[in-house]
């Protein structure tokens, strides 16, 4: 049976190594194929000139509208995201829905230096966890109490670093139930 396809959409981000590793981990952890789509511009109107940040919900709506035929789309961007109620977010997703979004902006060890291998690997691991986490929301998964589950709330860097890229036993079953349903 053909596995369902998650499309990674690079939104004004050119870090191909990061995108490839994200795609490879999604394929390993979730029962989906994954492909990297063509580079895209962030939608007009996403930048809030008062907050100097990008409106995550508007970007999600744009992704959803442009990907009507996709199974799931995960937008990846390097800009700083916000929602009207939060000062910043690491990512955002439709609960449930087709579109998810993750930003690398706040996931680095400041200042990020790509020439330091440990910094780079921690950074990539965080982006992968947050990408899978946001994709999980698109299947209706809510935050999990198990600190090692990828669906545990990503409140700060320590908690992101402490969790794995994997779904816990219960979240996995709920994902399977949802996949059987759709």
């Amino acid at each position: 049976m053909t596995r369902r396809m998650v499309e990674i959409v690079p939104l004004e981000i050119t870090d191909e190594d990061l995108l490839r590793r994200l795609a490879s981990e999604i394929t390993r952890v979730l029962p989906f194929e994954c492909r990297i789509a063509d580079f895209r511009r962030l939608p007009d109107g996403a930048l809030d000139t008062t907050r100097h940040q990008y409106h995550a919900t508007r970007i999600l709506e744009h992704l959803d509208a442009s990907g009507q035929s996709s199974f799931r789309q995960l937008g990846v961007t390097a800009v700083d995201l916000f929602t009207p109620i939060l000062r910043y977010v690491f990512g955002e997703a439709m609960l449930p829905g087709r579109a998810a979004l993750v930003s690398t902006y706040r996931l680095g060890i400041a200042p990020i230096r790509d020439d330091r291998p440990r910094d780079r690997s921690v950074f990539i691991s965080r982006v992968i966890k947050e990408g899978i986490h946001e994709l999980g929301h698109t299947f209706g998964l809510t935050h999990c109490d198990d600190p090692s589950c990828v669906m545990t709330a990503s409140l700060d860097m320590a908690r992101i670093d402490a969790k794995s890229t994997q779904l816990c036993y219960y979240c996995k079953i709920m994902l399977e139930d949802e996949l059987a349903r759709i």
């Binding site: 929602t83 939060l86 910043y88 779904l167 036993y169 219960y170 079953i173 399977e176 139930d177």
Partner: protein, 447 residues
């Protein structure tokens, strides 16, 4: 997995309602939103919330005025105020008026998540404490199972008989009759009372989840099973295993259960070793299992294995004499949980409770008392506090559809209050707009 607390978000800005609602839903909470204080207060008339998050600055009635009204009605209400403009003055005022906390928009993601979690956890602890105090006080010789009717006395006699044994008991009865309460009574009176009472509900979970919950799993049994896990069969060792809604067990699960009950041993999912099982099984069903056996949806051999002793709990309509004591018991228990001062039930309301047929049985009665406590404004429960469907008991033919019953009931009330729509809406505990919509829907007019 989190307990699903309910939260009402009140803010005039759509984007805030949407983004805060989504944020809280992602944390597993059940969220409702209201765009102004008026509609929020209207919602609060018919349902309660664990937490209210209210914007201070709103057109019309502002958040502080709403807070005053909420706290006046329910001094224990948990309200967090939010504002876009930090000002010590309004924060102090909000706390003085009874708000738990005060947050400035936009929130720090870390701050809001932890604040809500802390409030909900504290509420659970407080409620558990109050409930335990009441349970300790109210436990009589038959604990929370109440009844003096001949039918219930017969049930209690059977409970005494089976408690002394280790036999499998099949508890039957309609939904809401108290099958789990009875199972706990048997456990508490048995030689296994020191062990755990462990329940599994076959109607509530998917087959794969029930299987792993019941039998446990070995490390590596499936992707993500990083460690082995004890199943409920092992946890119930030395105690009682309550198999609720057994009629909903899947065919595969029925085979597994039969094996455990016959051989008293089982294997964990992905396991190769047999594990000894030392539990007493109690099963419950609201289905006619004999009929299910005849239809082929329930295994005959499992039915015989479960049906060693059967205790049938009669529906509440067959033991109306128990209604007053049950109603009073729920009133005592729920007024503590809901923090209400309502202390009694009016004779007219009690007569209505006794006359009603209670298709949902004791649970429906408990819900009716809870609703009456939530909507009631007086020191005792009166007729108008009871659900409309209940108030119509005996007034309309039972074979009428709900719509035609509602039509005649509303017409009668309008006549009674001389077509004063505001007053009638107040009596029916619906808003005027809803009543106008119903008048239009049913084509009612003043003769």
């Amino acid at each position: 997995m989190r307990k699903r607390a309910t939260i009402l978000v009140v803010d005039d800005e759509l984007s805030i309602r949407v983004s805060l609602g989504d944020l809280l839903r992602r944390d597993g909470y059940q969220v409702e939103v209201a765009e102004n204080a008026g509609s929020a207060l209207e919602m609060l008339k018919t349902r309660s919330f664990d937490l209210l998050i209210v914007d201070i600055k709103m057109p019309g009635m502002d958040g502080l005025e709403m807070l005053k009204q909420v706290v006046e009605d329910d001094p224990e209400a948990s309200v967090v105020m939010m504002t876009a403009y930090a000002s010590i003055g309004s924060a102090v005022q909000a706390i003085k008026l009874g708000a738990i906390d005060y947050v400035v928009k936009p929130f720090d993601p870390l701050e809001i998540g932890m604040l809500v979690e802390r409030i909900i956890k504290n509420q659970h602890l407080h409620r558990e404490h109050e409930l335990l105090k009441h349970q300790v006080k109210s436990c009589g010789s038959f604990g929370p199972m109440i009844g003096q009717s001949p039918a219930m006395l017969k049930v209690f006699e059977l409970v005494e008989d089976v408690s002394a044994t280790d036999s499998v008991v099949l508890i039957s009865g309609e939904s809401g009759t108290g099958k789990e309460v009875l199972a706990r009574m048997i456990h508490d009176r048995s030689s296994r009372a020191e062990g755990l009472f462990v329940g599994v509900n076959f109607g509530a979970f998917t087959e794969s989840l029930v299987e792993s919950e019941l039998f446990g799993h070995e490390r590596g049994a499936f992707t993500g099973a990083d460690s082995s896990k004890n199943g409920l069969l092992e946890i119930a060792s030395g105690g009682t295993l309550f198999l609720d809604e057994i009629g909903d067990a899947s065919p595969k699960m029925q085979i597994d259960l039969l094996r455990v009950l016959q051989e008293r041993k089982f294997r964990r999912v992905g396991g190769l070793k047999d594990v000894e099982a030392d539990f007493r099984a109690l099963a419950a069903t609201n289905r006619d299992l004999e009929q299910a056996v005849e239809e082929g949806s329930f295994r005959r051999d499992l039915y015989y294995r479960l049906n060693v002793v059967q205790i049938h709990i009669p529906p509440l309509r067959e033991r109306r004499e128990d209604v007053p004591a049950l109603a009073q018991h729920f009133l005592e228990m729920l007024r503590v949980r809901l923090n209400k001062r309502t202390g009694s039930i009016s004779p007219q309301a009690m007569q209505l409770l006794v006359n009603h047929d209670w298709p949902g049985n004791v649970r429906e009665l408990e819900n009716a008392i809870e609703r009456a406590l939530v909507v009631g404004k007086q020191k005792r429960i009166v007729l108008e506090d009871l659900p409309i469907a209940l108030q119509g008991s005996g007034e309309g033919p039972s074979d009428e559809s709900l719509d035609s019953w509602e039509k005649s009931y509303i017409a009668k009330k309008l006549e009674q209050y001389d077509w004063n729509v505001s007053r009638t809406a107040q009596i029916l505990k619906i808003d005027r707009g809803t009543l106008y919509a119903k008048i239009k829907k049913y084509g009612l007019s003043r003769e």
